[in-house]
Amino acid sequence: MTATTPPGQAEPANPEGDVLRCEHISKNFGVVAALIDVNLRLGRGEVLGLIGDNGAGKSTLLKILCGFQPPTSGRIFLEGQQVTFKSVDHARSLGIDAVYQDLALVGQLTVFQNMFLNREVIRWPLVRNHVMRREAREHLDEMGVQIPSVNAPVVTLSGGQRQAVAVARSVFSNPKILLLDEPLAAMGVKEGAIILDLILRLKHEGNVSIIIIAHNYAHVLEVCDRINMIQGGRITLDKLTAETSADELTDLAVAEYRKALEERQRQER
């Protein structure tokens, strides 16, 4: 196990063991550098927490990893093979699936219809509702997701239930890597527990490696094996969860704010 890889430094010790590896990823939007020489690795079956403030570059990195946009420079390796994602569909076909913040659920459709959205089971020309209903129910039960009914329109579910359905749907297609964008955003403790429980379950099964993107790290410390902190487009911390603490992360965040504040005051003078 490589415990820590200081930012911008050499290769991890066991590159074969990594399901995903990013080397020297940079992304510029015009003159703005959103990501600067980011190195990131994800071990097989690992849950990595990618944390940072708004605008730190988390979303940009997520969009690169799920094939939504290409990096300006840098290389991505999937199971040791260098890959260039052409599109979200392409990345998905390679086994990377993302659950976005908006969840990509259609409120007016039922849970099972959403579970099978755009991969419906059909006997032309009709969709096979009973098959999808049964499979959706089995799959959700297996994952311990509790919802009133697979026939319920998604709009009637709570935020936590919706998130759980979205995650369950992504797992449905057996991805190698699951990217979760702010899975606990705008969620109470009870609701959040549904998702944390689901993530722990996935981790326990070990079939999928997970990157959780969050700006509030209190949640994710609970389930992550390792934490990467991203600040100003750079990864400023890469530690096993056991070797770091909320205090250390807070200190880093506070230090950044203090620096920004001093910078601002200097400019005003």
């Binding site: 908006d102 990509a104 259609v106 007016q108 509702n129």
Partner: protein, 323 residues
């Protein structure tokens, strides 16, 4: 109790419209003085008044659900028969082929609407306002504002579309049944709901959003052309005045009364069907019981407003019921 009934009705919006349709029908039925019950009037009610509204409403429902609208379809109704007439009488096309091209023309207009809306990014309200006016201009220019006779070659087909008394309503019911299944039981229907319900989400799920919208515009155009041919047989000539906004307004009204939301994602074929029946009965029944047709639009307008208020209120009730 009342809340419960309201909640059930809210969930089953079609039931509300169905009840209204039946109530109106019974109301005119028990008015003995009129000849509402006569066969000729029933044919007029179902085949001549209600059918065009139903068929065009089918297209509008699909468009409204996926978040678009077609204001131009009434002018497809007007131009399709003229195109057929030109092809036969000026270019010597055989009758069937000309009919086919008239229908294809509807699809083409739909494609153009899709192109400006989806590919160029003009809101469909504006796009179809524009194409509607262009079509109106085309009708008036090419016909020199003169009606034309139906070419003899296509008279025979007319009985299948219109001349058999119940043919139109049979078409309407059959099409409505097919479209209901398409909307609720096929990928196309589910994806149409997805595009209107969560555009970004549908895109993220890999649904070809543009293709769905193009397809529904083309569908609406095709249905408009079909109605154009039916109306041609009904009026027994090809009239430039046939092309108007009226068909579209009635169809959208039917859809809205039937519970289709203008914002997309919500709507049913069954609801629009009975919405059209309500409009058809009102249109047919009022003159029969001696009420002038003039206040009809006041009633239509009132019906739209009431049903929209009901939509909003029932949606609120529904939310409260779930909390």
């Amino acid at each position: 109790m009342l809340m419960r009934v309201l909640r059930v009705l809210g969930r089953q919006r079609e039931a509300t419209v169905f009840i209204i349709a039946v109530a109106l029908f019974v109301y005119f039925l028990i008015d003995k003085g009129s000849n509402f019950t006569s066969k000729s009037n029933q044919v007029t009610l179902w085949s001549d008044f209600t059918t065009p509204i139903i068929i065009i409403a089918l297209g509008e429902v699909f468009l409204l659900i996926c978040g678009e609208i077609d204001l131009s379809v009434g002018f497809v109704v007007g131009f399709a028969p003229f195109l057929m007439h030109y092809l036969i009488d000026f270019y010597g096309f055989p009758g069937l082929l000309a009919l086919f091209f008239a229908l294809l023309f509807g699809v083409l207009v739909g494609w153009i609407n899709g192109f400006f809306t989806v590919t160029i990014g003009v809101p469909s309200f504006i796009t179809t306002l524009g194409t509607g006016f262009v079509l109106l201009g085309l009708i008036d220019t090419t016909s020199h504002d003169e009606p034309a006779a139906i070419p003899a070659q296509v008279m025979g087909i007319g009985k299948w579309l219109q001349y058999y008394a119940w043919a139109p309503i049979v078409w309407a019911v059959a099409l409505a049944a097919v479209f209901h299944i398409v909307l609720t039981r096929t990928r196309w229907g589910l994806h149409t709901v997805s595009v209107g319900g969560n555009l970004l989400g549908a895109r993220e799920a890999g649904i070809h959003v543009g293709r769905i919208k193009y397809g529904n515009f083309m569908l609406c155009g095709l249905l408009g052309a079909l109605v154009g041919l039916q109306v041609m047989y009904y009026t027994d000539n090809i009239a430039p005045t046939t092309g108007s906004y009226t068909y579209m307004f009635y169809a959208v009204t039917a859809a809205v009364i039937g519970g289709t939301a203008m914002l997309g994602g919500v709507g049913t074929i069954v609801g629009a069907f009975f919405g059209a029946v309500v409009l058809g009965i009102l249109q047919d029944g009022f003159p029969l019981i001696g009420v002038s047709a003039d206040p009809l639009y006041i009633i239509f307008g009132g019906a739209i407003l009431i049903s929209m208020v009901a939509n909003v209120q029932l949606a609120r009730l529904r939310e409260r019921g779930q909390r």
